[in-house]
């Protein structure tokens, strides 16, 4: 560690010209991007100013806290500058929900170093919970009259089960935490790529169960609606934030923002806790961690459980927001989409993952289908870019891993880990071991 420490210390003010040039370029890009994604230009400019202040005064603590607070306020007031019925707000809400998921996956992959390729399973379970408890899916509930708890007018009179959003959120968190631990159990004795494959298999199994759920009958009710999907789903019903509808998206945005806030708080607290340090120790060297008294089973299971819970939370929100719980949402490619966010931002880096999630979801839901879609045909090629979105993410994964494995905003420890191995001489094989040797 001491060996690499000097290289990490930035030479401070010496890079001023370079920083300013980058910031200048960033202003142009930010404004152009904001224009493309229908974001308010004034708000985009404010965002740029905040980032600039943070970059220039990155050693000043007051400025740091100030910009963070300002950033939070900026995010809260952002909807007032936008059209409330769609466009930017719609994509932003989606991006925030996906941020929650990416931060959850970051706990498993980034903190604990367990590559989970089946994260979509938790999204599916969360969304299914919404489908079960916030719609008319169980038409026979309450003797056909419906069964409701703490919900307002329209939903409380309809057949089916209708619970309050917060209760469903709680149920989903419990369900996905248990599911995460159950999926984690078989991987406990495995290491490395075997974990990836087992989680991938579980993701696929859950996806298949949702697709074929209309043929499974439990207590006289089918499990899911298969490819048809469960729809409509109740709108979120919370006090002070009326009304939630497809035309007025601001309340949705704030709920998503609140979820991100909760996730961020939990993530930061966990990272700096005893458990967070245990995860990092586990990631760096399992054997050493075990011999230092880190309980492997508990630590790993908690990583799976906590990570999964956020996937479930986001699933509940998205189920209600998208108004459908559809089997085609839960495909392997979605797991990779979320993984790409974590990799792009920087494994283990909370700020990075947040950035990666927001950037990638805007690329996926806005830039590719709306802005760049017809570029290939403009240069005489016969395809739409939206067909290739996952190829683009695949490309991104390869490029990031080869050229900048630590991500856009690297976490310090992770950066050391990832760069120490690369180019560390001729020790070609069994990467994990190489690093442990260097470290020892």
């Amino acid at each position: 560690m001491t060996k690499t420490a000097p290289a990490l210390r930035r030479p401070g003010m010496k890079t001023d010209t370079r920083t300013l040039a980058v910031l200048g370029a960033a202003l142009v890009v930010t404004l152009w991007m904001a224009d493309q994604i229908e974001m308010d230009l004034f708000m985009a400019f404010v965002l740029w100013v905040l980032i600039a202040i943070r970059v220039v005064l990155h050693e000043n603590r007051v400025a740091l806290i100030g910009t963070l607070v300002a950033l939070a306020i900026w995010a809260i007031v952002l909807p007032f500058f936008q059209d409330s019925g769609g466009g930017f707000i719609e994509d932003a809400t989606q991006a925030l929900a996906l941020t929650v998921m990416a931060l959850g996956l970051n706990i498993i992959v980034g903190f604990a170093g367990l590559l989970d390729l089946g994260y979509v399973a938790f999204y599916a379970l969360g969304a299914l919970t919404t489908g079960w408890f916030m719609s008319g899916f169980f038409a026979g509930a309450g003797g056909g009259e419906g069964f409701s708890l703490l919900v307002g007018e329209p939903a409380s009179n309809l057949p089916g089960v209708h619970f309050n959003f917060l209760m469903v959120l709680l149920i989903a968190v419990v369900v996905t935490t248990i599911a995460g631990m159950l999926i984690g159990l078989p991987t406990l004795r495995l290491r490395g790529d075997y974990i990836a494959i087992v989680t991938l298999a579980f993701g696929e199994i859950v996806g298949r169960l949702v697709i074929n759920g209309d043929t499974i009958h439990l207590f006289g009710e089918q499990l899911t609606n298969g490819r048809q999907g469960i729809t409509p789903i109740d709108k979120i019903d919370l006090p002070f934030l009326e009304p939630f509808s497809g035309l007025e998206l601001r309340p949705w945005y704030w709920v998503a923002l609140a979820l991100v806030g909760v996730t961020l708080f939990v993530n930061y607290r966990l990272r700096d806790s005893r458990l967070g340090r245990a995860w990092i120790a586990l990631r760096e060297d399992e054997v050493a961690a075990a011999s230092m008294g880190v309980p492997l089973v508990k630590t790993k299971l908690l990583a799976y459980g906590t990570g999964a819970a956020f996937g479930g939370m986001a699933g509940v929100f998205l189920g209600s927001y998208l108004n459908t719980v559809n089997a085609d949402q839960f495909q392997f490619s979605f797991s990779i989409f979320i993984l790409a966010m974590v990799i792009l931002g920087g494994l283990g880096s909370i700020e990075g993952v947040m950035l990666g999630a927001i950037v990638l979801s805007f690329i996926n839901y806005n830039l590719i289908p709306d802005v760049f879609n017809d570029y290939p045909s403009k240069v005489g090629l016969d395809f739409d870019l939206s067909e290739l979105s996952f190829g683009i993410f695949g490309f991104l994964l390869v490029i990031m891993m080869v050229l900048r494995p630590e991500g856009l905003i690297p976490e310090r420890r992770r950066k050391i880990e990832l760069t120490e191995g690369v180019g560390a001489g001729d020790t070609a094989f069994g990467g994990g071991e190489t690093i442990q040797e260097v470290r020892a």
């Binding site: 590559l115 075997y194 074929n212 994964l397 390869v398 191995g421």
Partner: protein, 358 residues
């Protein structure tokens, strides 16, 4: 529980759970593998009084299994030498199928092509598909795995997943997003002969007849040639191999080349046998073949072939039954086997304990 994780590595099993696990690992896998054939066999006997339906499943399963075996060889070769799951391998197989279909068009092979033209055309296509897939696999190794050879294990696995998606999109660009039918040049479903109610079609014979020589060639190459010896040495200890004057990078490239060649051949057989190709075929094939490789014991060539045949039969039984299972459950069945094997017997049927299995 923590104690058991460590205790499993010691020869003496003191923990009761470990002993149970040991028994399950020893005989459980074989028992679980027999469940489906036995269950449906009994059902066939009681319903129709003969085992012919099961027999048909097994014949079809063997020919499917031949394809999975060829793909599984690629996984097992690569894993044996650099302990990496080449996640993009299924897509290399898919590209083999697309090359085959494309070259059919170039050569003008159709249903009405005569025997002589067919043999010549198919041999040419086979060589081309093998070369294309082999070269592609070498390229993937060069671009996505070699720069990361000393990085943590997560890194090459992620680039592998990335490449898998890139190649799927190449497939979309090539033939579009939906499955595409290709000319059934060998009339694969035509019955060749029948034994006791079990019909064997041309496709079945072709698949097995093409696979066995390829596997024999591969095993002979690895057992006897100079490069094969280099491969085995590198698999055993790359550092020592390097000290002994083996060019490790070349050896790894050759391994990927061989794996790709096998996948290309599998792609051709698949295209001939199924007469439908699409960009997503590689994903499922990759996972099934990986299951086969793990089932046989990853790193073990014979195991991969055995696993391929077994998983082929299981998949075929699940595909053709409507009671309890059915085609929509095939993936679940295969993945369940994958998880069970990985948990209870990570070393597979024929393999040794790997480091992964801990």
């Amino acid at each position: 529980m923590e104690a058991s994780t460590e205790a499993a590595r010691l020869p003496i099993r003191t923990n009761r759970w470990d002993r149970v696990r040991g028994y399950i690992g020893e005989y459980g896998l074989i028992a679980v593998l027999l469940v489906m054939p036995v269950f449906y066999g009994i059902q066939d006997l009681s319903d129709e009084g003969s085992l012919a339906p099961l027999g048909n499943n097994i014949v079809d399963g063997l020919s499917n299994g031949a394809i999975w075996a060829l793909v599984a060889l690629g996984y097992t070769l690569v894993y044996g030498i650099i302990e990496l799951i080449n996640f993009a391998h299924g897509e290399v197989f898919m590209i083999g199928s697309l090359v085959t279909a494309g070259f059919f068009g170039t050569l003008g092979l159709t249903v009405s092509t005569g025997v002589g033209g067919l043999i010549l055309g198919l041999s040419l296509t086979l060589v081309l598909a093998m070369l294309a897939s082999g070269a592609l696999n070498v390229m993937i190794e060069r671009v996505a795995y070699r720069p990361l050879r000393s990085a943590p294990k997560l890194a090459p696995l992620i680039t592998a997943v990335g490449f898998s998606f890139i190649l799927q999109n190449v497939g979309i660009l090539w033939i579009g997003g939906s499955p595409e039918g290709i000319p059934d040049v060998i009339r694969a479903q035509r019955e060749l002969f029948e034994i006791g109610g079990v019909s064997v079609s041309r496709g079945d014979v072709l698949a097995v007849a093409a696979t066995i020589p390829l596997v024999l060639l591969l095993t002979t190459f690895i057992a006897q040639s100079r490069l094969g010896r280099a491969m085995r040495a590198t698999a055993q200890d790359p550092e020592a191999a390097r000290l002994m004057g083996i060019n490790v990078d070349t050896t790894i490239s050759v391994t990927f080349l061989l794996g790709g060649i096998m996948a290309g051949a599998a792609g051709l057989i698949y295209a001939l046998y199924q007469t439908t190709i699409w960009y997503f075929q590689g994903f499922q094939a990759g996972l099934i073949a990986f299951t086969a490789a793990v089932m046989g014991g990853i790193g073990n060539l014979k195991g991969a072939v055995l696993g391929g045949f077994i998983i082929g039969i299981i998949q075929q039984i699940s595909d053709n039954r409507t009671e309890i299972l059915g085609p929509e459950w095939t993936n679940v069945v295969v993945f369940t086997y994958l998880v069970l094997i990985m948990v209870f017997r990570p070393s597979g049927l024929l393999g040794e304990e790997t480091r992964e299995a801990g």
